[in-house]
């Protein structure tokens, strides 16, 4: 599987958001953390890759195929985007919500395989006790877990997860990032994760992409990006890199 993003630009009527973005991922099983300050174009980039926004120029190719050549429905089966915010007042249970992502239901019949797949993902994320709860009755963190379960139950080649841990407590943040990493490596797919927590990015991502004002500033492994002077400049903070007792690279920031 090879994902190529070439010279991708996107404009809103009053603002240019993405400038000539180039990203290539031909390594199977790669977690790419996209980092950068707020309003730097991370979500817009994900929406362009998912085909939800039409770029002003440039293209996204998956194994040489573009969205235009396969159509939105097929593209969405290969490229799975999970938005940052998910809040719904629908009278749908968690189980039904996740099942929706598994297949296009036509008629009354739902396949037993799909039901089993939903059960398995609920158990894997330890949210099986919520299966029959309406999504409108969930907390923000539980809704985010449901949204991620919707993503994991699908079998795309590219995951685009927009700040998947923003509403989660510490334990669930680690659990979700661990799941993202293991799913990515096990299925040999490419996962883009937009993150604000640089320590989570360093710990779980194979590659970091630093963005500023719609441009890619740095692209490399955690140490390469953390050691770049661009990092402190981009965030407008002082950064200090250190190694924890367990050997994990971590970052500390101050104003």
């Amino acid at each position: 599987m090879k994902l190529e993003i070439k010279s991708l630009s996107f404009n809103y009527p009053s603002k240019k958001v993405l400038h000539e973005i180039d990203i290539t991922s031909d390594r199977a099983g790669e977690v790419i953390a996209v980092i950068g300050p707020n309003a730097t174009g991370k979500s817009t980039l994900f929406r362009c890759i998912a085909g939800l926004l039409k770029p002003a120029s440039g293209r996204v190719m998956l194994d040489g195929k573009t969205l235009q050549s396969v159509g939105q429905t097929i593209w969405s089966q290969h490229v799975c985007f999970t938005p940052q915010f998910f809040s719904s007042n629908a009278a749908l249970t968690v189980f039904e919500t996740i099942l929706l992502a598994k297949k296009h239901m036509h008629g009354w019949k739902v396949k037993q395989d799909d039901i089993d797949a939903v059960s398995a993902i609920l158990a894997q994320l330890n949210i099986d006790h919520l299966a029959q709860t309406y999504i409108s009755d969930l907390s923000g963190g539980q809704q985010q877990m449901t949204s991620l379960a919707q993503a994991f139950v699908r079998e795309p080649e590219v995951f685009l997860l927009d700040e998947p841990t923003s509403a989660l407590d510490l334990k669930h943040q680690l659990q979700i990032m661990q799941t993202i990493r293991s799913v990515t490596h096990k299925r040999n797919i490419t996962t883009f994760v937009a993150l604000h927590d640089l320590n989570l990015a360093a710990r779980y991502a194979d590659r970091l992409i630093l963005m500023r004002e719609g441009r890619i500033i740095e692209d490399g492994n955690a140490m390469e990006v953390f050691n770049s002077p661009q990092l402190a400049e981009t965030y407008g903070v002082n950064v200090e890199i250190y190694e924890t007792k367990s050997g994990v690279k971590a970052i500390s920031a101050s104003l």
Binding site: L52, T82, E96, H106, S119, Y134
Partner: protein, 358 residues
């Protein structure tokens, strides 16, 4: 004791068993509601100034050649058309309301909120007061045809708004409310200009009545449902996904814009046909889907059929009530649906699943 154990065991079972059990329960609810609808239909046909035993009614329906001419006339020319159109119009309004709430992601949306009823009323008044003929050769159907044309045109105005850049579902609801007030003002103007006889006609039309039922109208209602419902059912997955928000639905591969436009056209057809045939019937299209939502949730595979059946049942029960309040007098059904609908609707809002109204 054993049964209690088995039931508890099932509820505590794995998530897939729980899902299958829940789906089974929902099918049972739908079958039960169909049974209630049939019972209500038979009572509606039996009830009238001359009460007929249910056996005689069934015999006249299934074996008309053996019934007396008088019984046949009462059943086939008077009561059956009214009882059938009550259910059909209820089903049409229920489907239109359910899908309007779904595509606009708004629990208060229904054809009434979007001004389609007011538009139909204005069209009818145009025919009554000025005999304006919007479609030539409408003949005896002048009022109905005018109501339909204006209601449908209003839907296309709303549709045109959806094509504009940056228009959200909230904007659409606001445009609908603005249209409703505009048509209400125009209607008031027409009432001011109308003679006493014309004014009575307009008021009667606005109250909504099943007395205009006829077999050709039933055929049109059946045709409309036969066109719209299979399409709605074929899109059940996309419609259910739409309730999770535009972003989520789009990320699952739903063409949100196209779906919303296709649905709006079909919903308008259903609502415009219903209101042009029986006048303004408020609250059925709003309350019916809410009852369905409380019982089976919003999986469209269950939600749409139960919305149609519960709304049809509401209309059928109201039809019985309109005859039962004062024997010998048939009250306009729209009046009763509003009187019953408002307190019922408020009690729903205050009692169950508060979050789903937000």
């Amino acid at each position: 004791m054993n049964m209690q154990f088995a039931s508890d065991d099932l509820l505590k079972g794995d998530t897939s068993t729980q899902f299958i059990f829940r789906s089974f329960k929902r099918k049972i609810f739908i079958l039960l509601s169909i049974f209630l609808l049939i019972v209500s239909f038979i009572i509606d046909v039996s009830w009238g100034p001359s009460f007929m035993p249910i056996g005689e009614v069934l015999s006249a329906i299934f074996n008309p050649s053996e019934a007396s001419i008088q019984t046949n006339v009462i059943i086939w020319d008077l009561r059956l058309p009214i009882a059938i159109i009550a259910i059909l119009v209820g089903a049409m309004l229920g489907c239109a309301g359910a899908e309007m709430q779904t595509i606009l992601n708004n629990p208060l949306a229904d054809p009434f909120t979007l001004g389609i009823y007011s538009a139909a009323g204005f069209g009818a008044a145009l025919a009554i007061v000025f005999q304006v003929n919007l479609i030539p050769f409408a003949g005896p159907f002048l009022v109905t045809v005018n109501a339909f044309v204006v209601a449908l045109s209003t839907s296309f105005v709303i549709y045109a708004f959806t094509r504009m850049r940056g228009v959200t579902t909230e904007t659409m609801v606001l445009v609908g409310i603005a249209l409703m007030f505009t048509f209400n003002a125009l209607l008031a103007l027409m009432q001011y200009a109308a003679s006493e006889v014309q004014l009575t006609q307009i008021v009667f039309w606005m109250m909504g009545s099943l007395s205009r039922a006829s077999w050709p109208k039933i055929a049109v209602c059946v045709a409309m449902l036969a066109i719209c419902v299979p399409y709605f059912m074929s899109r059940n997955w996309a419609l259910t996904a739409l309730r999770m928000g535009d972003d989520k639905a789009a990320s699952l591969g739903v063409n949100v814009k196209r779906l919303r436009i296709e649905m709006l056209i079909l919903i308008s057809l259903l609502a415009a046909t219903a209101v042009s045939f029986v006048g303004t019937i408020a609250f059925v299209g709003l309350v019916g889907p809410h009852i369905a939502r409380m019982i089976v949730g919003e999986d469209q595979r269950f939600f749409l059929p139960l919305s149609a059946i519960s709304s049809g049942l509401m209309m059928s029960l109201t039809s019985i009530l309109s005859k039962a309040i004062n024997p010998g007098v048939v009250y306009p059904i729209g009046m009763i649906t509003s009187l019953i609908g408002v307190p019922f609707f408020i009690s729903l809002i205050l009692s169950v699943r508060r979050k789903s109204w937000q």
